[in-house]
């Protein structure tokens, strides 16, 4: 197991955002979390990357506890997070944003190669490498946020609704990226509203409902599950 979350609960003030959730991410696999609005998907990811203090439970990364660590130390273990709402650095250029993603890396050449790789995947970003991030369009910022996460060369990638606001062609590109990096041995946790896409990409899936894990199982099994089909696939 690369990452293990055991019986996690998280509160915002008095509100229980998630109550008792356990999630395991095996090395080299893609795990997806689906669920309705406010089910707690974002909160779960935030707890994983240390952005949200947990109230109970424990989180292990490669067997080491990381739940008490501040976000920047969690990330240093090799976790990258594409946050909800993009959160690009507004007053940095596209290229600076991408380089910030490689903040903890010291291999200069590797960084240049990866930068080239991101530009290759998203030619738009190369065109606009000196444009300030805040003036980019919604979808362009989303590409930038994904590119930035890739720049840290993570072992585990957390993606919060990466397809949001992207044109269908780019959504395909994202799907391809996820598959490719997964082939290179990277593990991915994918949170998606586009459940169809998510279940197709993932190996294993969790369904959250109001702060609890309602269902879990291999992705293709859940894809055929009655309840999932009705509630999340719109079939």
């Amino acid at each position: 197991m690369l990452l293990e979350m055991k019986n996690i609960a998280v509160n915002y003030g008095k509100i229980n955002a998630i109550r008792d959730i356990s999630i395991s991410v095996p090395t080299g696999k893609i795990v997806t979390i689906i669920g309705g609005n406010g089910a707690g998907k974002t909160t779960t990811l935030r707890a994983m990357s240390g952005m949200m203090p947990i109230t109970s439970g424990e989180i292990l990364f490669e067997g080491k506890r990381i739940d008490h660590l501040p976000a920047h130390k969690v990330v240093a273990n090799g976790i990258a997070h594409v946050p909800e709402g993009r959160r690009v650095f507004p007053d940095m250029t596209v290229e600076e944003n991408l380089r910030t993603g490689a903040f903890l890396r010291n291999d200069k050449e590797g960084v240049e190669t990866d930068l080239e790789g991101v530009f290759h995947r998203f030619p738009r970003l190369r065109e606009r490498r000196t444009q300030l991030a805040k003036t980019m369009s919604g979808g362009e910022q989303q590409m930038l946020a994904i590119g930035r996460a890739l720049m840290s060369k993570p072992r585990l990638l957390l993606m919060d609704e990466p397809s949001m606001g992207l044109a269908p062609v780019i959504v395909e590109e994202i799907a391809q990226i996820v598959e490719e990096i997964n082939e290179q041995g990277l593990s991915v946790v994918l949170v998606e509203q586009n459940a169809e896409l998510a279940l197709e990409l993932a190996d294993y899936a969790y369904v959250l409902e109001t702060g609890n894990a309602a269902l879990e199982g291999p992705a293709n099994e859940l894809h055929d599950n009655e309840h999932v089909r009705a509630a999340y696939l719109g079939i």
Binding site: G38, S137, G139, E140, L166, V169, N194
Partner: protein, 255 residues
């Protein structure tokens, strides 16, 4: 009525970058019109120009033949063109009802002197009735005194539209109303839009969810790199080679 809302030779430049380039299209009254295009094509920028948030570098926006380009946002709104925003933009600290009440600003323009001495009771009742009506329309009547910022994502999007609807608009501009919604919610929202249309409201919509666009729109304009690319009904657009090439792709994951 033809030439209800017309965009004519619209151009927007940011420094050396031309975000919208000589774009023209027409929106018929009482229809749902889609505006699609790859990321960064200039859709939001076009919206910003129509709604008066940006002043176009060149070109015109004609509403019933009147040039409204360059007017301030509230002036455009008072001519009946109301917009929502790409992200959930609400009065987060106000209650749901209060949000909708702000939406009734145009039909029931408050008067400060009347308000102080209490001679505006009629207007206040009218505004509240209208606000409740709009909230009910979007199924938010059970949440009147919730803080808007505490609502779930879907409810927030609905509230955003209720605020727009409360002002009796002629045209609503919707920027990606379906982001962050699951298929079920999307479908409910589509129904509401159909009802708006039945009410005689014209809708101009930007969205990347093809299921919604194709299901809703009477007419679709596709743009790319700031320029007009194609226009037509959902069928034509779905099969338009240039649109597929620039935007839809193999459409493996889109309905």
């Amino acid at each position: 009525m033809t030439n209800f809302l017309e965009v004519k030779d619209l151009t927007m430049r940011f420094g050396g970058l031309t975000a919208v380039d000589n774009l023209s299209f027409k929106v018929e009254h009482g229809t749902i019109h889609g505006l699609i295009g790859p990321n960064g094509a200039g859709k939001t920028t076009t919206f910003n120009m129509i709604s008066g948030f940006y002043k176009p570098t060149e070109g015109q926006v004609l509403l019933r033949g009147e040039d409204i380009s360059g007017l301030k946002m509230h002036e455009v709104a008072r001519r009946g063109v109301v917009r929502t925003f790409q992200h959930s933009t609400l009065f987060a600290e106000l209650t749901v009802l209060e949000n909708a009440l702000v939406g009734t600003h145009m039909p029931f323009r408050p008067n400060i002197f009347a308000a102080i001495i209490g001679w505006d009771a009629e207007d206040r009742h009218g505004a509240e009735a209208r606000a409740r009506e709009a909230l009910e329309f979007f199924g938010l009547d059970g949440l009147l005194s919730e803080r808007a910022g505490d609502l779930s994502h879907g409810h927030q999007r609905a509230l955003g539209m209720a605020v727009a609807y409360a002002s009796h608009p002629d045209v609503i501009l919707l920027d990606e109303p379906f982001t962050g919604m699951n298929p079920e919610e999307t479908r409910q929202m589509m129904d509401l839009m159909e009802r708006l249309k039945a009410d005689g409201i014209t809708i101009l919509i930007v969205e990347h969810d093809m299921q919604a666009i194709m299901g809703l729109c009477d007419n679709i304009t596709c743009m790319s790199f700031g320029k007009f690319l194609a226009e037509g009904g959902p069928k034509e657009i779905r099969n338009h080679p240039a649109v597929i090439e620039a935007y839809l792709g193999g459409a493996r994951h889109v309905a």
